[in-house]
């Protein structure tokens, strides 16, 4: 069984093997260092011509990858910390996302931007954020964020080899060492090609009492929470889309409709986030079918502290989610 990290590693290696047009660029990614989180470990030894360490200029080498994609390559870039995507935002928004549309579909930009997000490691305010919400809703790009219930190998390989749209691929730092979680009560649906939604329930038959919808690193908190709630005899279904944008709206609506009690959870800061849009879509689609208002949980709207005891209070926790679940049942 692969871990979140080893799936990414093998996905990259298999993509480089499958197609000579795949190029990997990023800061400190070549061996022996192999990248800050070791996702590219060993790659430059196997593919020295196509795995290239860049200067520290995230905006610049994002542009380089856009140029390579326009000229027939399928580049993958690593942004060492997701927080640094702000430096790439001009290339993402005004170049990568724009070229296919504004050039009347005469060009393609098959480019994957991989980056780790999330807190919980004491890195402080500028190395712990979940900034993917800044890029949700931008026309012309996809934003993908697998949980540890997903096969990261398959999803990354699809993005690199099969998706002709640019993809922002969000990884979670705390998930890297985890084995992929598989369970008999798990089901997968694919509304957005290549980017499945996985649902895990804590009951064998019947309907859920509550549906949790979350993504990315929160699977770490939610999987044990489901077991705990099972002991408390509460039926809960946890749904993890890997595609944040576009939204697999029919899938989420279907799960939400099963009980009419929905908790949306994400690690990003509260306010104008992923859950805002998902809640709006679910309210439109489930009008009159909800048993209670949708609960939306996120981390506190403040800079993430470096001190571990302060950081824990800032980030969304399993306890927050559990409290919201019971609140919906009361």
């Amino acid at each position: 069984m692969a871990s979140y990290l080893s799936g990414l590693q093998s996905g990259l290696k298999e993509a480089l093997t499958a197609n000579r047009k795949v190029i990997v660029l990023g800061e400190d990614i070549v061996d022996p260092y192999g990248g800050a989180f070791k996702v590219t470990k060993g790659l430059s030894t196997c593919f020295p011509e196509r795995v290239i360490s860049t200067p520290i200029c995230e905006g610049g080498f994002t542009g380089v990858a856009v140029g390579m994609a326009l000229r027939g390559f399928r580049p993958v870039i690593e942004i060492m910390f997701g927080d640094f995507l702000t430096l790439c935002s001009d290339q993402i928004v005004n170049h990568m996302a724009k070229f296919p549309d504004m050039y009347n579909n005469q060009v393609k930009v098959p480019l994957v931007i991989r980056t780790p997000m999330g807190g919980g490691r004491g890195y402080g305010a500028t190395h712990s954020q979940s900034l993917e919400k800044m890029f949700l809703g931008i026309p012309g790009i996809k934003v993908v964020a697998p949980s540890h219930l997903h096969a990261t190998n398959d999803i990354l390989k699809y993005a690199i080899l099969n998706d002709d749209d640019p993809v922002l691929f969000i990884e979670n730092k705390l998930l890297y060492p985890l084995e992929q979680h598989v369970h008999v009560f798990m089901e997968q649906s694919v509304e957005i090609s290549g980017y499945p939604t996985v649902a895990l329930r804590n009951f064998s038959t019947g309907k859920p009492d509550v549906t949790i919808i979350a993504y990315g690193g929160l699977s770490l908190e939610i999987v044990p929470l489901l077991a705990k709630l099972h002991d408390d005899e509460l039926n809960v279904n946890a749904v993890f889309p890997s595609s944040l944008w576009p939204v697999p709206v029919e899938t989420l609506t279907r799960y939400g409709a099963q009980c009419g009690r929905i908790v949306l959870c994400e690690e990003s800061s509260a306010g104008f986030n992923w859950g805002s849009e998902i809640a709006a879509l679910l309210y439109e689609n489930l009008h009159g079918k909800l048993a209670a208002p949708i609960a939306r949980l996120a981390s506190a709207s403040q800079a993430i502290p470096a001190a571990r005891q302060l950081e824990i209070k800032t980030l969304i926790s399993a306890q927050d989610i559990e409290n919201a679940v019971w609140e919906l049942m009361s």
Binding site: G60, T62, G63, R71, N94, H95, K98, F99, N104, V107
Partner: protein, 296 residues
Amino acid sequence: MLVNNRPKCLRSFFQEMTHIRVVEETFLDLFAQGVIGGTVHTCLGQEAVAVGLISALNLDLDIICSNHRGHGHFLAYCGDTSSLVAEILGQPSGVCGGIGGSQHLQMKNFYSNGILGGMAPVAVGMAFAEKLKGSGAVVVQFMGDGAMAEGAVYEAMNMAALWKLPIMFAVENNQYAQSTHWNAQHSGMLEQRSESFGVPMVDIDGNDVEEVYHTTQHLINEIRTQCTPRLMFMRTYRIGPHSKGDDLRDPKEIDLHQQQEPLSRLRKKLDPSWVTSIEKQIRQEVALLVANLRKE
């Protein structure tokens, strides 16, 4: 294909440059009449750069990354006036179906975008791609003195030199960033910057089409054979407004530069009766083309 076998004599340069001038003056007229909206950045006074440089490229192979002031580059690249005018009129037969508009043109190996300096790293990536393919193509990245205040340009120069890529940074120093004189937004010497990154620079008169042509030939040959970047710094002057009628410069300053603008200079080297007749012919051709497109 766009085989660049057109004559490179003074008459042909004059013809192409006049054509660009007339098309762009027409755009300003159409804008004033309210026929076209948005914005139009003309390269009036900078035609020698577009024609001299692009005439020296292998158009089957080489790649052009242009900027917001790119009509001249586009016309010198493909000569397809109809697809440019239609684009700016917002018609489906435009080069990007009317979606791109003035600043966002794409045809074959020509790409333009309206974010200043933003195409510099993209052009470096294209050069990297062509080097990996072994195609022998050179990428030309146009920018102005205004864009040279953007950080992306220096990230691009660093990577181009570090990775030894076949790219020419083509700087059109037209002396103005919108309404701001280059002196008021740059410290130090613009032309000296690239060499500290290991990108050799040649400083030329950008209003002399022959000098631009011959220097480009020389530099492109160096880039193609050595696979290393160069910067060509071309001194010129934007005699037109930044975009539409938004010109607050001292008219005396502009008058002074009118004498040095490339078409005036070239006119003096050519037979006056030929000049008169060719100018008349180009005006008629462009007027007819625009009139026909406006009927669509």
